[in-house]
Amino acid sequence: MGEMEQLRKEAESLKDEITAARKAVNDASLQDTVSGTAVVGRVQLKTRKTLRGHLAKIYAMHWSTDSKLCVSASQDGKLIVWDSHTTNKVNAIPLKSSWVMTCAYAPSGNMVACGGLDNMCSIYNLKAKDGNVKVMRELAAHTGYLSCCRFLSDSEIITSSGDCTCVLWDIETGTQKTVFAGHLGDCMSLAVSPDFKTFISGACDSTAKLWDIREGQCRQTFGGHESDINAIAFFPNGNAVITGSDDATCKLYDLRADQELITYQDSSIMCGVTSIAPSLSGRLILAGYDDFNCNIWDSLKSERVGVLAGHDNRVSCIGVTADGMACCTGSWDSFLKIWN
């Protein structure tokens, strides 16, 4: 037997080993465990603010850690930093490339980043001494579109790309520190763990991968989705991951049990999930869909307990504030809405 054939057999046997090991700890379902808990009552959130100003589809939004400011990116070629309490625009940043697909707010509030079909991640300094917001760094090395980016700090950022890799960058030097390779399809989304030690990525190969940031290693791979994973987020305690996919379902994977615990689906939902965010306690999962709505799921009971209906086009992005007070939806209808 050639080495290639031997390796193929070894790979298959390892995959079987993983399946068996997951089954061995599968002693009870999440449904069994929560059978004594009642479903959450109907959740009815109202639009409190509408952020108007973009002139084209909004592709991404991200809250600042202060739970007040947020940044949005639109294919009108602008990044807008909003004060969500007053609806005032704090900054309107014109972009070199209007084909933006993602944006991020640094935890410090000092910077924002964005990227898209230009294959680059551009970092903007919001606190320049002369008051003008300008490009601080252009991180270029990806050979595919930038689908998502998240700051670890003012000096490091992680990006995911259509070139199937994720990269950890040193912002000072503009260089790649670590390349996270392993996905077999475009990486669509990423999320950093609450302790900043790991991150998860969702890709068009229908899998989610958990990566150790410092070791540069993929620790775990989660399958089960039948199509592209478009959105991914950590459960607030960092021990589970929620995903949203083109297969019209969301899933919750527990990291320590190394397997899927629950699928959030309904036969009446036939369109893809574009965005996902947990509420502060993790009990609610808010997911944006291609059918212009956002569904609110009881994460433990897997029942739909609410709907955010108010956009006239696809909900492309969603985010819950760090203090859990509100959620923001961004849409192809060019508006952002704040709900609570």
Binding site: E3, M4, L7, R8, A11, L14, K15, E17, I18, A21, R22, V25, N26, D27, A28, S29, L30, D32, T33, V34, T37, V40, V43, R48, K49, K68, S84, H85, G182, Q217, C218, R219, Q220, T221, F235, P236, N237, N239, A240, D254, R256, A257, D258, Q259, L261, S279, L280, S281, G282, R283, L284, L286, S299, L300, V320, G324, M325, A326, I338, N340
Partner: protein
């Protein structure tokens, strides 16, 4: 040569699978119970779940009062 790079890729895939196979796993019952516990313990702080009193909602303008 492409056959060499295929071999290298395959070796890497097998190494990665070995690593993932060796992950320590806890029982689903324990994982599920801890997820539930986290949700229940933090429920009261979850504004989207329990609601926000109008007066303390930063996204709602306070109603004006009529002074008699």
């Amino acid at each position: 040569m492409s056959s060499n790079s295929n071999l290298t890729s395959m070796r890497r895939i097998v190494e990665q699978l070995k690593f993932e196979a060796n992950v320590e796993r806890i029982k689903v019952s324990q994982a599920a119970a801890e997820l539930q516990q986290y949700c229940l313990q933090n429920a009261s702080k979850d504004a989207l779940l329990v609601g926000v009193p109008t007066g303390s909602n930063p996204f709602r303008d306070p109603r004006s009062c009529a002074l008699l």
